[in-house]
């Protein structure tokens, strides 16, 4: 008996099902489109995010026989594809962060009363944070956004990007130091 997270166990069955019947691949879409969309839309904008999320699943379907469960999970595999697609839009991503920096004082739509203080504090940080993201290199930004936005574990990020577990940690550390520095904090 192996110890697995629930997501992995569910994905194993999902993979078995779409290998048995390719039409089952739509189940992969049903399970992960939203997550991939929010990741890509978070890094670019909703229109580009939508395009990239859709393309991710079309590419994943085309390459489904190349997916090897022994090398990692379904979710990291999808985010790896999406991350490669995002990389084609480096300028758009930079413009997106610059726009966020300019519009940084707009309150978040879901700001509840109880979070007002937190939200106000965070709002002051937003322009710097957005500029800091723009200043990261591609590898650092991939790791930071996969961890923060897509909520992948370090192991999943390693699988998604095809880098070692240690590389994920070191890129993340470097990125956070840069972010802290740009925001006026000590590392």
């Amino acid at each position: 008996m192996t110890t697995e997270t629930r997501g992995q166990a569910g994905d194993h069955e999902l993979v078995a099902r779409f290998r048995l019947d390719a039409e089952e691949f739509t189940t992969v879409y049903d399970r992960y489109f939203r997550e991939v969309y929010l990741y890509a839309a978070g890094r670019l904008d909703t229109q580009a995010g939508e395009d990239i999320a859709a393309e991710t699943f079309c590419l994943a379907f085309r390459d489904r026989d190349r997916f090897d469960p022994a090398r990692g999970g379904l979710r990291p595999w999808l985010f790896g594809i999406a991350t490669n697609l995002v990389a084609r839009h480096r300028r758009k991503e930079a413009r997106h962060y610059q726009a966020l920096a300019r519009a940084g004082t707009e309150p978040p739509a879901d700001s509840h009363e109880g979070r007002v203080v937190d939200a106000v504090a965070a709002l002051h940080m937003r322009p710097q944070l957005a500029r800091a993201l723009a200043a990261l290199n591609r590898g650092e930004r991939d790791v930071v956004t996969l961890v923060s936005l897509a909520e992948l574990t370090h192991q999943e990020v390693a699988e998604a990007l095809g880098v070692s577990y240690g590389t994920v940690g070191s890129r993340l550390n470097r990125a956070r130091k840069k972010i802290h520095k740009m925001m006026g904090h000590q590392p």
């Binding site: 290998r19 048995l20 039409e23 089952e24 489109f33 939203r34 929010l38 966020l100």
Partner: protein, 287 residues
């Protein structure tokens, strides 16, 4: 400060609209083009057999060369099973509860709500012995067909009408093998698979279960292979050849098998004698 959390907040976007989700799903389906119906790949289900299991027909791989000569016809056995099924009360409850017992030991349990939401519980399954809500509401897999609970309950309770309904659904379903669309014999076989699914695992009425046994009894090519531990071995023509189904005419159940067709689709083989029991219940396991 938690910078990663702040980044998430900074970059958060609203969920995609249902319209976007539906439109992009259609785009994917279009790009998927010809659907492939890869029955030959069914062994791939093996490592996840337990997770996929939901109920039970029984397909014993063809290793029964020394079966005793038939003492009565498969038709007789299936008609007896039909009579038994028709007079077995269905019971009532919120959940269709399936218990998989392997070599006398309870191995896994499954609960299906009428909307297709399921829960699973068993050692080695997701949840590791604890009750886990499994996926989201989904159609029931009846052999190669997908049906909602309402569709299952509206199936005809006459054997011939039931066969016709399922055969039409198979013909309309665009099932394919790697060699192309199913030929007529393969469509007949796929229909038999859905019939076997109905008699073994599906939450259908006693009348429909009886009709499924009668429809099986009327199929050419169904043969009695003699006694099995717990029932009678019957050879049935399926979409990619023949398989052996163990039916107990006295309980109208399928038991002591090494393989079966789960409600989630596909055919699962295990290394032990598996019996599947079904019932309606109001209770999810209290764990």
């Amino acid at each position: 400060m938690n910078d990663l959390h702040e980044i998430r907040t900074l970059l958060a976007k609203p969920d995609p609209s249902p319209d976007v989700v539906a439109r992009r799903r259609q785009q994917l389906r279009t790009s998927m083009g010809h659907r492939t119906f890869r029955r030959k790949a069914r062994w791939i289900l093996l490592p996840v057999a337990a997770a996929a299991v939901a109920a039970g027909l029984v397909i014993v791989p063809g290793r029964l060369g020394n079966a005793p000569p038939p003492v009565k016809s498969a038709r007789d056995i299936l008609l007896v099973a039909a009579t038994t099924a028709a007079r077995t009360p269905e019971g009532s409850g919120t959940y269709w509860h399936i218990t998989v017992t392997k070599n006398g030991q309870q191995q896994a349990q499954y609960w299906y709500r009428r909307d297709g939401q399921s829960w699973i519980k068993g050692e080695g399954l997701k949840g590791e012995g604890k009750l886990v809500k499994f996926g989201r509401p989904a159609p029931f897999m009846i052999g190669p067909l997908r049906m909602t609970f309402e569709e299952l309950r509206q199936l005809p309770d006459d054997g011939n009408a039931l066969y016709t309904r399922l055969r039409t659904a198979v013909a309309d379903s665009d099932l394919r093998t790697s060699a192309g669309p199913l030929n007529d014999a393969q469509k007949d076989g796929a229909t038999v698979e859905s019939l076997v699914s109905l008699v073994s695992e599906a939450p259908v009425s006693p009348e429909v279960r009886a009709a499924a046994y009668r429809a099986l009894a009327a199929r050419p090519g169904v043969q009695d292979l003699g006694d099995a531990d717990g029932g009678r071995r019957l050879q049935v023509p399926v979409s990619d050849g023949t398989d052996t189904v163990v039916v107990d005419p006295d309980t109208a159940q399928v038991r002591n098998t090494s393989a079966w067709v789960p409600l989630t689709g596909g055919i699962v083989h295990t290394d032990g004698n598996v019996t599947i029991d079904t019932e309606w219940t109001d209770d999810l396991a209290a764990e």
